[in-house]
Subunit: 427 residues, 2 copies
């Protein structure tokens, strides 16, 4: 029987789930892989977190060096989070030839090539299934099952907090602030929800998926991000009238000539699209690939046990590789795609203008859009009170840059249009 | 650079897709795995099928022995189908220590333990991702990603032909015969559609998923199967009125005490369930697991390139294992579950009775159901003409055996109820 020894850093939600799941699965793992996976070191500052877990006091320490210096640790599981201490820790672990499993999307997204180069240089494997979409095995699908399925686009609902908020706003007619408060009460949003609602968490995951799907090395700063802070519930209603739901989508698309665009934006999805039914805290990823066609993978995007299952499946994979002496995959010399391509992408858009209730305003807007080559596919006009009218439109496919120019022109020159003008992508 | 050599048997739809996909992916595979996968032998009776494929005449033969006897073949890809020649071929290939990749669900389902025991005995690996749900990587998900996610139930839409027919019946109000004809015209149904519409194809796949999900060795004859031959479109309409769609579901459930039930039956799914939106030729699999919770995997269930992608991903996995000298997984000593458990399962049901339009019939039916402990959750009654009334009901959870007894009693004793009585599962 082969023995593989694990050192765990961090006993938070996912860490404690990992300890429990490993404990209850050891027999299954032995039976199916012939490997005995042993948790030999646990580092956690707050000793009280050991309580109730199947752990021996002797395994515990408060010092990360105890894992790094331990000669008997084969795999390091990093569940500390953040990009400071965890980065140092992972780089040092790799330098001492330890394999690494991490759920840390921020670290991977912001230091993508540094982390993967270090793994390559030191001849160690890195598992990061838990970094994107919790319990959905999307990393394995991209790296293994879809290795020969050339991907054209990949987009997903990758943040449970914002999806919970948007679902509440849509189904229960709540405004943003109330939906956020409810998400916090139910434990789906942090006390400081900034990373989630401003789209950064989704952007971290989007970058990882983009780089894997297209075998590129996009810089995190090239991901365009807009979140849902103070998203207006009226746009959810107008969208529904036009046959769409609003979701915070993380999108990566292959544009012609191998150029890639990556962005996170609240977007309209047609009712019939499978992602339109992905509600509350759930995540889902849509892939359009050359060989396989359209695929969707749906599941829990966070939580103790779903994420722990992904961490543990990585540990098992790495253990198998250690026993065999093989490397998971070769990830080097990735292309840095052109980041200026974003303005040339084509899309359909949703537009909302708040205008004075005067004759001719709609005509003025429509003819300016027309001059910029933008054609309207549907239009709804609603008088909100005696003075204000909402003009809501969807466009046919047009160049993003043309749309931005037209909107800027309208903002500057059509006095009867009030700020702000809302522009949303349509999938 | 490592070399792995492949012998392919069968140049049908999937086989020719495999040849193309391997040809166009060789660079990617080399770059990512460091392995050169070479197609060295192709066996196909119909030589004309080589036309247009990137194949050398010298690689071709019409004799399966040419693959079996070739010392330079590491992996055999079996895409012949059926359970006769292909079974002999796979067993012989394993005996001569060749690893096997197959898309043959009938063979695996009907000779499950024979095939896996032979692989184990000969120390070779077997890949069968393509045997279930075409382009959806469900086998890898079950064997690797969800290894430690104890599964409670798994059910899926696993047959594209019947799903296409049911979708057409539902959305376009077609009867069964017309929908089947259309499916045949569009290439989604064979000239002889028996295997599909009688549910056998789905049952083959259900058995494979069941055995993997629960680590058991269920016999194929213990899978209860009912298909959709001459399914009455009126049940699709009544179901819709009650908030459901009808899908041919392949279900495996863990009953208490480790007992398993497996069946294929047309079943009602609530509108809101993700599987309810899986239309036309698409497949999807729903899994409820202890660690991960609810997951759904959606994609193309058949077709040349989606299935070829699964075959090729198996070949790549096996190639890596050959280079490393490792075995994919240990699959032995599987438990044979009790097959008599089926009658004790609890479910909700949809019932349709055609009755004479007389007072008191509904009351009679309801009180008989009540005597058997079956409580009604909703009921619709429709007069179809002056003489015939359709009484449609859904029940709360009840024992399957009680329901069957009640229905048998009604059939025998209530003269105003005409045959047949329709009983469908609700998910």
């Amino acid at each position: 029987m082969n023995r593989i020894r694990v050192g765990l850093a961090g006993l938070g939600t996912v860490g404690s789930g990992f300890v429990k799941l490993l404990h209850q699965s050891r027999h299954t793992i032995r039976q199916r892989t012939g490997i005995n996976i042993e948790l030999v070191r646990v580092v956690e500052l707050d000793k009280r977190r050991l309580k109730g877990l199947p752990l021996d006091q002797a395994q515990w320490s408060a010092n990360l060096d105890d894992i790094l210096k331990a000669a008997d640790v084969d795999i390091v599981v990093e569940l500390i989070g953040g990009t400071g201490v965890s980065r140092e820790f992972i780089l040092k672990a790799m330098k001492s030839r330890k394999h690494v499993v991490t759920a840390n999307k921020a670290l991977l997204a912001e230091h993508f090539s540094e982390i993967f180069s270090a793994a390559d240089r030191n001849g160690v494997n890195i598992g990061f299934e838990a970094s994107v979409a919790g319990g959905i095995p999307i990393i394995k699908i991209l790296q293994e099952s879809f290795l020969t399925n050339r991907i054209k686009k990949i987009y997903g609902i990758l943040n449970g907090t914002t999806n919970y908020i948007l679902t509440k706003m849509s189904l229960d007619n709540m405004d943003f602030a109330s939906a956020l408060k409810e998400a916090q009460k139910k434990g789906f949003a942090e006390a400081d929800p900034t990373l989630d609602i401003d789209g950064l968490d989704a952007a971290h995951k989007a970058l990882i998926l983009c780089n894997l799907a297209f075998q590129v090395d996009v810089n995190f700063k090239d991901v365009m991000v807009s979140g849902i802070r103070n998203f207006d519930v009226s746009d959810i209603h107008y969208a529904r009238e036009l046959g769409y739901v609003v979701k915070l989508l993380a999108v990566s698309r292959l544009v012609k000539d191998g150029q890639i665009v990556t962005y996170v934006e609240p977007s309209l999805i047609p009712f019939k699209h499978l992602l339109a039914s992905v509600n509350y805290e759930y995540n889902a990823i849509y892939i359009d690939g050359e060989a396989v066609g359209e695929s969707v993978f749906y599941g829990k995007g966070a939580g103790s046990m779903p994420t722990a299952n992904s961490v543990l499946s990585d540990v098992i994979d790495l253990a198998r590789h250690i026993v065999a002496g093989t490397k998971v995959w070769h990830y080097r010399n990735l292309r840095k795609p052109d980041s200026t391509v974003n303005k040339n992408i084509m899309n359909e858009y949703y537009l909302r203008f708040m205008t004075a209730d005067k004759p001719g305003v709609l005509g003025r807007i429509a003819s300016i859009l027309g001059k910029y080559g933008i054609s309207i596919s549907s239009c709804v006009q609603k008088d909100l009170d005696a003075r204000v009218t909402a003009v809501v439109m969807t466009t046919h496919f047009c160049r993003k840059q043309d749309l931005e120019s037209a909107v800027a022109y309208i903002r500057k020159n059509v006095r009867d249009v009030k700020a702000p003008i809302v522009v949303l992508n349509i999938r």
